[in-house]
Amino acid sequence: MPVEIVKDKWPGSVRQVTLGATAAEGGTRSHTVTVGGEASLPFMHFEAPMPNRPRVAIEIKDRRPDDWSPLLLEVWGAAADNPAEWAKAAEQAGADLIVLALSLTKADGSPTQAADAAASVKAVLGATGLPLIVFGPGQAEADNELLVAVAEAAKGERIALGICEDKNYRTIVATAMANGHLVTARTPMDVNLAKQLNILISDMGLPLDRILMDPTTGALGYGIEYGFSVMERLRLAALQGDNMTQLPMLVTPGFEAWKTKESKVGEGVPADWGNWLQRAINWEVMTAVTLLESGADIVVLRHPESVARVKAVIDGLMQPA
């Protein structure tokens, strides 16, 4: 008996956002990466083809991090001591994009200076041809100081600068506008606040096709359902035509998953939790795949094995049924 597949036709679609600039566009990237453009819910190819596949970014730091899992430090080895080497290793591990997260302090404990941040970014840009996203340390004052230097050092490369939040976005947006970059806009799991920040940023004059939104998510077992619902609601609003929600979504399942007890702790947990490394990778992969299903356009991961697995899942999901 033939079954009729019910199809939704949506009036709106997500904007396409392009990261990176090649030599022809005034940058030095080997290629650009475009995300967004969806005109249906994720992977509903029978309703509307997805013009761009979701992308996997690998998060690296400007120096060996103090607070990352030993499992991650082990797999990245000596590369974690040097952002350029780490970026190369990340590209080899299959990253579509590099996220460089700046540290608040240097290895000796002194504050990271603007010149240090600019040097790290230049080193990474020199080591890889992938488009780049740079996150500040997450404190307003340091973010503003470092990201302005980063934006100037990377002028023409069309990098994304993060993280804009409702309490601190003006300086970052202004420097992104002045230097031809993009921004990421993060809000704490709330559709109203997500939309509001997009309005505020676009009111400053940054075109909407230069904003990625990060609606924040939890990890598997730690509020991911709530994050899923917020992303789903934002995406439904976008498809219904709400232009202030029609932005690609960048989410950080690597950060979320690697702070859960299941990933962090290898000893003193029940034996039937199984192998620690496998569990941690599973946690990161399951978190990322869940977020892909709720509309993520960029997932930021930490472990190379997770990258391989998530990319394989994306390959499968991108095959029309």
């Binding site: 559709v191 109203n192 509001q196 997009n198 309005i199 009111d203 609003a237 219904q240 202030m244």
Partner: protein
């Protein structure tokens, strides 16, 4: 529209300060101004007053009653305080605001209302909170609240059902459901109980400059489904003007005609249409954007008007 004036409310810093000083003149002035602006009853919300209810409730009744004759609405969770106030009422039939459908409240509060021959506002909220869906709120009225009134022989004509307005800024999906709950409740019983809502709740946590617009657009939509009573701010002149426009069907101004059209569309179970709106008029465009958020068609954001 029967308006219960909301302004004597402890959330206001001025009210808080005046109460601390037992500034009778402040409360008398606020009472008179609300009544002169069109309030037909006055809500008194001074909180539970756990420490001083024995003195505060009678004091506020004496104070307000000295200058106005309208019914007083006792808005408190402190049942002893309410009773202390009720004992001082010498003028119009008072209102208790409120009971919910939680078993403990529904056990005690209606008995107090019956004892003092008051009207009683009953919230469609059970032990598990406020349901989203309109039908579920109606069910609480039908299955919990009205049966309890019949059980104690409380006159349904003195019952006021409040299906609970929640804020568009955090509970946006509730906004259209509340409209449908008001519509349905009017057919819930014969003769139907009165229906009242706390209008200003719709704009809780919204920046102050946007609150009046959201309040009056929601008011127009609710009048479309037949709302005839609300707790609201009678000193909001533009809100009172919208009430008048819809009651008198005054389409003499373009904005008035739009409010009327919105009410009529909602009355006919149609969605307000952009064809009804002159988008070149900023005021009409703002009203239209507000309708869109209140119907949960567009996600609310503080700057929704600039979108």
């Amino acid at each position: 529209m029967y308006i219960i004036g909301e302004n004597i409310h402890i959330i206001s810093d001025k009210v808080k300060a005046a109460l601390k000083e037992r500034d009778a003149k402040f409360f008398q002035d606020l009472a008179v101004r609300q009544v002169e602006a069109g309030a037909q009853a006055l809500d008194l919300n001074l909180g539970p007053r756990k420490a001083d209810w024995q003195e505060v409730f009678p004091w506020i009744v004496d104070t307000v009653q000295a200058v106005v004759d309208v019914p007083l609405s006792f808005d408190s969770t402190n049942i002893l305080g309410i009773e202390a106030g009720l004992q001082r009422v010498t003028k119009a039939q008072p209102i208790i605001n409120s009971t919910s459908a939680e078993p403990e409240r529904l056990e005690k509060v209606p008995l107090l209302a019956k004892k003092y021959n008051t009207r009683l506002i009953a919230l469609t909220m059970g032990s598990s909170g406020i349901p989203v869906a309109a039908d579920e709120r109606v069910n609480i009225a039908l299955e919990k609240i009205i049966p309890r009134m019949l059980e104690i022989d409380f006159p349904i004509s003195d019952l006021i059902i409040d299906p609970l307005v929640l804020t568009v800024s955090g509970c946006q999906e509730y906004c259209p459901h509340l409209i449908e709950a008001v519509r349905t409740l009017q057919y819930a019983w014969d003769p139907p109980p009165a229906i009242s809502v706390g209008l200003s709740n719709v704009s809780n946590a919204v920046p102050n400059e946007n609150r009046p617009l959201i309040n009056r657009v929601y008011c127009a939509m609710l009048m479309g489904v037949g709302l005839k009573m609300m707790i609201a701010n009678p000193l909001e002149r533009e809100l009172m003007e919208v009430v008048r426009i819809i009651e008198q069907r005054d389409a003499s101004t373009p904005v008035g005609a739009l409010y009327l059209k919105i009410a009529d569309r909602i009355a006919n179970m149609e969605e307000p249409s952009i064809e009804d709106v002159d988008m070149s008029d900023p005021e009409q465009a703002a009203i239209w954007k507000t309708v869109q958020i209140l119907l949960n068609k567009v996600i609310y954001a503080e700057s929704y008007l600039s979108q």
